[in-house]
């Protein structure tokens, strides 16, 4: 198996930069389309979370599996989910990964190692643990990773899954994106612990806190957890401290978030930070940045056009595929 190094080379760093820019651009466009009434359903954006969304998922290798939530579209990009697939899904077209059955970001493709989430979170914490169990039983050196927000950590599934995964020493990495709010509810109304990662000690597994806006740290700490899991070291809980920079969903202006909080986190924008990192190392300049942004815009433009011109499913397909043959 081709395993990525802990210290990424230029090619990987530029890949990551492209994916961050792509994720941001897709979400910006989705926001515009939603506001313009062009999408049939809702949008759940992870803007501001690019570093952990892409950094953690990028630490997986081919054959590993990822269970994202509905806010984690960007986490699927390193797995090979394409902009066209993202827009087909949001436009509810027949050619989408869920054939028009699932909404906005509720897509996945097991062939590329991603699960299609449900709304009840973190329901895929146990599912990821089950995938990890399958790997362990078959002696496969594969790893499962599950994402959720800090809001999900109040739910029983979260604790049950981590506990069982610890007891069975499963190759699974649990990522919690602590973005400050569960819909409108701030963290201090969700939990008394200072950090979600503090809970790891209750399950006798490592609990790691990462700067959720620093993609190098997000990647490296997750990478260590992934390889520890792969080598039989069991699960890790990773808490990424970041900020949800838009509302819970497209309709939510998030007026409950004070403006100075947004201003503070704007200064910590993970893409700008990564650009500075790359620039300092001579890997990025105005010209190469322009080139990346150009490629991104082209991909998004192509994907939107492709989705808009793609057919809807036929109504009668509503009753298909309820059961497997």
């Amino acid at each position: 198996m081709q395993v990525k190094p802990l210290d990424l080379g230029t090619k990987e760093l530029m890949d990551i930069y492209y994916l961050m820019r792509l994720g941001r651009a897709i979400e910006d466009r989705l926001n515009l389309l939603y506001k313009g009434g062009r999408l049939p359903g809702a949008i759940y954006l992870g803007t501001g979370q690019e570093a952990i969304e892409i950094g953690a998922s990028y630490a997986l290798e081919q054959g590993d599996v990822l269970a994202p939530t509905h806010r984690d579209m960007m986490s699927q990009l390193p797995r090979g989910i394409t902009p066209r697939e993202v827009f087909l899904q949001h436009y509810a077209r027949a050619g989408s990964l869920t054939h028009g059955k699932g909404e906005d970001n509720y897509q996945g493709d097991l062939k590329r190692g991603t699960f299609a989430t449900v709304s009840m979170l973190p329901d895929f914490y146990p599912v990821a643990a089950g995938a990890a169990l399958a790997f362990k039983l078959r002696r496969e050196k594969r790893v499962a990773m599950a994402y959720c927000g800090e809001g999900s950590t109040s739910v029983g599934d979260w604790h049950e899954a981590i506990n069982v995964a610890s007891v069975l020493n499963l190759p699974v990495v649990f990522v919690v994106i602590n973005n400050g709010y569960a819909y409108s509810t701030p963290v201090y109304k969700e939990m008394k612990v200072a950090n979600v990662a503090d809970r790891a000690c209750a399950y006798a597994i490592p609990g790691i806190i990462v700067d959720g806006n620093d993609i190098i740290e997000c990647y490296q700490e997750t990478k260590k957890a992934v390889e520890r899991a792969r080598e039989g070291g069991g699960p890790t809980l990773i808490e990424a401290k970041t900020m949800r920079m838009r509302g819970h969903a497209g309709h939510d202006p998030a007026t409950y978030v004070a403006k100075d909080i947004i201003d503070l986190w704007t200064e910590r924008d993970p893409i700008v930070r990564f650009e500075n990192y790359l620039t300092e190392r001579g890997l990025l300049n105005e010209e190469s940045k322009k080139e990346v942004v150009g490629r991104v815009n082209e991909a998004v433009e192509d994907a939107v056009n492709f989705a808009e011109q793609s057919p809807y499913p036929e109504g009668k397909e509503a009753v298909g595929d309820v059961y497997a043959a």
Partner: protein
């Protein structure tokens, strides 16, 4: 209580309901290394009802996995393992505890294939049903809840033969299947069953007794009540046909409608609470599709809309009895 034993033939063996299930699980695990089990106390203890007694010694702790008390977790884990190509069989210690896993079953397992065309082959075993003086939390019949969820199959055998054949079919099915085992039958019902491998198709009901005057549609432990009532009615000159649904969903409409066409009179007998249950669905199907065949109202004999009580006189009052079925047969005689 026991079924009329079949004529003993070569290759047939008298088998308890519970042993039929154990044998099927054992044989399937021998056949397919992708099958493994998760549940509470299923390992060295052998399960609360001993269905998996001796399994861990034979198949090892990797395939017979004792779980912490975490129904949501191990149900979700079954989904994850199934999506990775395994065939998990999970045991809820009592069907009553299946409600603890409700979300994973209804939102994750049931809807995954619909959205992604990826199969979720998993079996959820759940000992259900009343009659054991076990009170409100160890006696329930939750099949109606799950029969209402598209994406799930719900199976509920009434005989050792069907229990063995249906759980094999469930394990080989590519969908999430909930397999309710009426625990009153576990050690009270036995019959001759074949030694060789066989399956019973999911979605097919069975006429357990032929008759011409009245049809009783039933399933699980109530089959015994129906057969007893049918014998009593015979003494009074009323010929009763008994249809055993065997699978609650997908429901075998054809066999029900064929019987209605023959008798024109139907009693729906079930242990679950009466309102909005399987009986309502069967009645509606008959009303929609066999109205012209009916000679009388479709009657439901079921448990009252109350939790299941503990005290013996309360539980006896609560559960449908042979006399209740006889009263329904008498009422239909007036038509």
């Amino acid at each position: 209580m026991s079924m009329q034993p079949n004529q003993s033939q070569d290759g047939q063996k008298e088998t308890l309901f519970i042993d039929a299930i154990s044998q099927a699980l054992w044989e399937e695990m021998e056949r397919d290394p992708g099958i493994f089990m998760m549940g509470e106390d299923i390992g060295p203890y052998g399960g609360a009802f001993k269905v998996t007694k001796g399994f861990i010694e034979h198949f090892g702790p990797e395939r017979i996995i004792d779980m912490p008390i975490a129904e949501e977790a191990f149900t979700g884990m079954a989904v994850g393992a199934a999506l990775m190509g395994m065939r998990p069989v999970i045991e809820y210690q009592y069907a009553d505890f299946i409600s603890c896993a409700w979300d994973q079953i209804v939102n994750v397992a049931a809807k995954y294939h619909y959205r992604t065309r990826e199969a979720v082959p998993m079996v959820m075993r759940a000992p259900s049903g009343a009659g054991l003086r076990a009170g409100p939390f160890h006696s329930q019949s939750p099949e109606g809840w799950f029969a209402h969820v598209p994406g799930l199959k719900v199976v509920m055998p009434a005989t050792p033969y069907d229990a063995k054949g249906l759980i094999k079919a469930a394990i080989r099915d590519n969908n999430p299947v909930i397999f309710f085992e009426h625990k009153y039958l576990y050690r009270r019902l036995k019959e001759q069953i074949p030694a060789e491998d066989y399956t019973v198709p999911i979605g097919k009901a069975k006429v357990q007794r032929e008759g011409g005057d009245v049809t009783i549609v039933t399933y699980a432990a109530m089959l015994q009540t129906a057969l007893e009532a049918a014998n009593k009615a015979q003494e009074k000159g009323v010929s009763v046909e008994v249809v055993d649904l065997r699978t609650i969903y997908p429901l075998d409409k054809e066999i029900i409608l064929n019987s209605v066409a023959k008798t024109g009179k139907v009693i729906m007998l079930y242990e679950d609470t009466k309102t909005l249950g399987i009986g309502a669905e069967v009645s509606a199907i008959i009303a929609e599709e066999a109205f012209e065949s009916l000679d009388g109202p479709v009657l439901r004999v079921a448990s009252p809309d109350a939790p299941i009580p503990y005290s013996p006189p309360l539980e006896d009052y609560y559960l449908p009895q042979v006399d209740d079925v006889m009263a329904a047969i008498d009422r239909l005689a007036a038509y």
